[in-house]
Structure formats: structure tokens, C-alpha cells
């Protein structure tokens, strides 16, 4: 019995366990999503979290212990953001022809994303630190954390709200755009990239490469714009 206990105390605190669990959970979630034909609701991030969170909860493992291992994957968000240069480069011709739609849609999407989150959070009577934590929800995780911290939110809560936003955007974009009969992949991709950052971008790449490239542009530009406008919106609206 003590051997089992000792083995478990090694496993539960070893970064290797949680790194492995994260990769395996994702592989299982991705395989399942593919087998189902990548329907909007079978989101790989959501399914992976649903596989891992109960294990941590059931074994009483703290998030900090889990993150010791998972940080190696989390770290890849940075190089992955840089890698978005490639789809942008591949689509440089079409992008050059839609500079004006891109810039204006960016401002509209970014301001509505942050502004509506702040106003809705106020309308629900949430405490100020929650309002500040939800404001940068539509921008990519590392940027949102920095903004949240700068304006006085709770960065760890912002991380979760960012991921939830990404999942919500990735799940709703296809039905929403089909409902509106929007067939322009550039517009569809751009919208989900502005509203739902990398998870929306991953969804867009699943559906169409042009949509993916435009989602990537929207996500990168929105990382810039959100870090400029959230501090201003917070001063006005909170």
C-alpha cells in the first residue's frame, strides 16, 4: 500500500504526468472530433479540458502542480503566434486588396468585443475586478493576461474567460455565419479571429484555409488593438 502511495505521490507531483495527460487528452479529443467530422460543438479544447479537469479534481491535484507539466505546451503559444506569419504571407495578395475592410472590421469587432463585455458585466452587477477581468476576453491568452493585470483584473480568471470565449466563438461561428448566409471566407474568418482569437483561428483553419489566414490576421491585429483600447474603455465605462 505504501509503495502505491509513494508511486502516486511521485506521479501526481511530476511534471511528466501532467504533460503526458495534456498531450493524450488532446490527441483523444482531436481524434474524436475528426471521427465526428469536426462538428462545431465538438471543440478539441473544450473536450480536452473536460477530460483533464475531473482527473485533477478527483485526485485533489492543485492547478499549480498540473501547470508545472503543462507549461511546456502553454509556452508554445508564443512560437505558434509567430508561425501565423506564414498563412499571412501566403495570402498577401488577397490581403492587399482588402486592407480597408480589414482595418475597419478590426476596429468594429475589437471595440464591440471589449465594450459589450464591460457593459454587460456592469448590467449584471458583477464586482469591479470581474468586470476588469472580462474586458480583454477576445484577445489571445498571453496578451489578455498582461492587459488584465495592467487594468487591475485577476489574470488567472482572465485566462479562463479567454479560453471560454474562444470555445464559444469556435462553436457558434459556423452556425451563425450559415444562418446569415455569409459565404465570404475572408469575412467569416476575420470575424471569428477578432472575437475568439486562437481557438477561433484553429476552428477557421479546420473549415477553410482562407478563413484560417484571415482569422490569423484578425487575431494578430486584435492583440495590438485590444492592448491599446481596453485601458481607455475601462476608464470610460467601468
Amino acid at each position: 500500500m505504501t509503495d502505491v502511495a509513494r508511486l502516486w505521490s511521485y506521479l501526481s507531483t511530476s511534471p511528466l504526468t501532467w504533460l503526458t495527460a495534456t498531450v493524450l487528452a488532446y490527441l483523444a479529443a482531436d481524434a474524436l472530433a475528426r471521427r465526428l467530422g469536426n462538428p462545431p460543438w465538438a471543440n478539441p479544447v473544450l473536450m480536452s479540458v473536460l477530460l483533464i479537469a475531473p482527473v485533477l479534481w478527483g485526485t485533489g491535484t492543485a492547478y499549480a502542480a498540473y501547470f508545472e507539466g503543462a507549461q511546456f505546451i502553454h509556452f508554445l503559444l508564443g512560437p505558434a503566434t509567430v508561425a501565423l506569419a506564414l498563412p499571412l504571407w501566403d495570402n498577401r495578395e488577397t490581403i492587399r486588396h482588402s486592407v480597408l475592410p480589414i482595418l475597419l472590421a478590426l476596429v468594429a469587432g475589437s471595440v464591440v468585443a471589449a465594450g459589450s463585455a464591460i457593459l454587460l458585466a456592469r448590467a449584471f452587477g458583477l464586482p469591479p475586478e470581474l468586470i476588469l477581468s472580462v474586458a480583454p476576453k477576445s484577445t489571445t491568452a498571453p496578451v489578455a493576461l498582461g492587459i488584465s493585470e495592467a487594468v487591475g483584473g485577476l489574470p488567472s480568471l482572465t485566462a479562463v474567460l479567454v479560453i471560454l470565449t474562444g470555445i464559444i466563438g469556435a462553436v457558434t461561428v459556423t452556425p451563425l455565419m450559415n444562418l446569415l448566409r455569409i459565404g465570404d471566407w475572408r469575412a467569416r474568418g476575420f470575424a471569428v479571429g477578432v472575437a475568439a482569437h486562437g481557438i477561433g483561428t484553429a476552428r477557421a483553419f479546420q473549415v477553410n484555409p482562407v478563413a484560417g489566414a484571415y482569422a490569423g490576421i484578425a487575431m494578430a491585429l486584435n492583440a495590438l488593438l485590444t492592448s491599446l483600447i481596453v485601458p481607455v474603455l475601462v476608464r470610460w465605462l467601468v
Partner: protein, 139 residues
């Protein structure tokens, strides 16, 4: 100097060349990010380091277009599995159960409504401006 990270194309079997190209690509991505982080911090820019890194890589591709073909196999794998990289932050939900359990319904409604509004604003603006500018260009 960053381009020195490009792989050597001569010698070795195909597999080994593939691995070297993968590492070279990864080295280049990390170098771009590092330079981006240093620039963002050093110049106190409000722009995140990886986004500056993205801009730097675009500049490198512009200076040397053949670079794209060497990077593509590795960046393709990374971007095809972008979802994986959000899992650790997503699991953070268990570290915030206390806050979330109290206001989860309000937060869920806020996130859903706000995300839908943002997508509508962006897609509407994009299509409207595209129609106006394309009509202007065609006239």
C-alpha cells in the same frame, strides 16, 4: 543573422534533413519571438512580443521568399494543432472554481452575447466596406 537558422540542404538522408529543417524552423520562430519580446520590453511598446515576432518573420519572408517553403512543413504542424496550446490555460478553470461558481451563469451569458456581437460587428463591417470599396474600384 536570424536566417542562419535555415537548414543545410546538402547531405544526410531525407528523414534527417526533415528533422533538421524542423529544428531550424523552431529555432527561427523562437528567435523572432525573443527579438520581439526584447523590443517590446526595451522600447516599452504596448505590443506583445510574439506579435512583434510575427511582424519580424513577415519581414524576413519578404526579404527571402524561398524561406516560406522551408518553414511550411513545421509551421503547418504547429498551426494544425493550435488548439492543443490552449488546453493548459483552459484547465485553469479548476483553479477559479470559487469565483466561477458564484457568477458562472452571468459570465456565460456575458461571454456568449459579447462574442456574438463582436462577430456580427466584424463580419457586417467587413462585408459592408468590401462592397463599398469594390464598387468604388469598379466604377
Amino acid at each position: 543573422m536570424v536566417r542562419a537558422a535555415g537548414s543545410r540542404q546538402n547531405g544526410g538522408d531525407t528523414n534527417r534533413k526533415g528533422v533538421t529543417a524542423m529544428l531550424a524552423t523552431f529555432g527561427l520562430l523562437l528567435s523572432c519571438q525573443l527579438i520581439g519580446e526584447v523590443a517590446a520590453r526595451g522600447l516599452a511598446l504596448p505590443v506583445p512580443g510574439p506579435v512583434l515576432g510575427l511582424a519580424l518573420l513577415l519581414l524576413l519572408l519578404r526579404l527571402s521568399p524561398p524561406l516560406a517553403e522551408r518553414l511550411r512543413p513545421t509551421t503547418g504542424v504547429i498551426l494544425a494543432n493550435l488548439s492543443l496550446m490552449f488546453v493548459p490555460a483552459g484547465v485553469g478553470v479548476i483553479g477559479n472554481l470559487e469565483v466561477l461558481s458564484k457568477d458562472w451563469l452571468a459570465l456565460l451569458i456575458i461571454l456568449t452575447v459579447s462574442t456574438l456581437l463582436a462577430m456580427l460587428a466584424a463580419v457586417g463591417t467587413f462585408i459592408l466596406v468590401r462592397r463599398l470599396t469594390e464598387r468604388g474600384a469598379g466604377a
